[in-house]
């Protein structure tokens, strides 16, 4: 973990001063408001508000390459204690290229014991998935993952 942070910083310093700073991946994922898709950004604003979203704490477990976009297993966990004073209130999942950017909103509480939710989702295209967690103190944390889809969901005609 710390090793990758260091190497990121080295890379960052290496390109500092050039115009490439914006394209450094960790900065891009740290700020979903910069997402390529406007509808994704709009959906995130609508659900979590316009507050600052930090990168980290959230872990998004999804296969990097899926054959069938109709059912993609996904697990979202948040590295945060679940006590009455400090817990994860909700987890919100978004996608970039489905017809609708929302995937699901999951509301938990201190009683969950562990901040982890699993489900199965549809992906209409190779795209980015974003998960955002809201903690009891109101802060927002996020993670994103890129998934390559070979057989897309939603596009085939029903018989």
């Amino acid at each position: 973990m710390s090793e990758s942070t260091d190497s990121t910083r080295r890379r960052f310093l290496a390109v500092a001063g050039s115009t490439a700073i914006i394209s450094v991946a960790p900065i891009f994922t740290a700020n979903p408001a910069n997402a390529t898709s406007e509808s994704l950004a709009a959906a995130i604003r609508e659900v979590v508000g316009g507050e600052v979203i930090h990168a980290g704490k959230v872990k998004l477990d999804v296969p990097p390459l899926v054959e069938n976009g109709n059912t993609v297993p996904i697990t979202i966990s948040v590295a945060n204690p679940m006590t009455d004073a400090d817990y994860v209130k909700s987890i919100h999942v978004f996608n970039e290229k489905n017809p609708q950017p929302n995937v699901g909103n999951f509301y938990l509480g201190a009683r969950a014991g562990r901040a982890q939710v699993s489900t199965r989702i549809r992906l209409a295209d190779t795209q980015k998935i974003v998960a955002i967690a809201r903690l009891s103190d109101g802060s927002l944390w996020s993670a994103s993952a890129d998934v390559v889809v070979t057989l897309a969901a939603c596009t085939e005609e029903a018989s």
Partner: protein, 106 residues
């Protein structure tokens, strides 16, 4: 017609974190598809899921068309007391189903 699969441990120690797995059979028609003749197929999805533990809500979810057919949702809770879990699914076209499971906490 509609049927639910629930997986809750029958027994748990007090304070133990248990995992709850649920699956409801449902087509989750997205509303974005068309028939071969070009007619849009109206949306028919489950929009909401909730779980109550002895009457207290411990988990709730809003679902969207991006959730796969036969929605599977898994989450966890702390086993505090013996009792029942009540699960509810609500969706388009008046869809409303419930299921329950009991647990013994020692």
């Amino acid at each position: 017609m509609a049927s639910a699969l629930i997986n809750v441990p029958g027994k748990a120690k007090r304070g133990e974190i248990i995992e709850i797995k649920t699956l409801m059979s449902h087509i989750m028609e997205t509303g974005f598809r068309h028939t071969v003749t070009g007619e849009p197929i109206p949306r028919n999805i489950i929009t909401s899921f909730s779980c109550h533990y002895n009457g207290v809500e411990i988990f709730r979810a809003d679902l969207f068309p991006a959730i796969a057919a036969n929605p599977f949702i898994s989450f966890s809770t702390v086993a505090t007391e013996s009792g029942t879990f009540d699960f509810h699914w609500i969706g388009d076209r008046g869809f409303s189903e419930s299921a329950s499971a009991s647990i013994t906490v020692e």
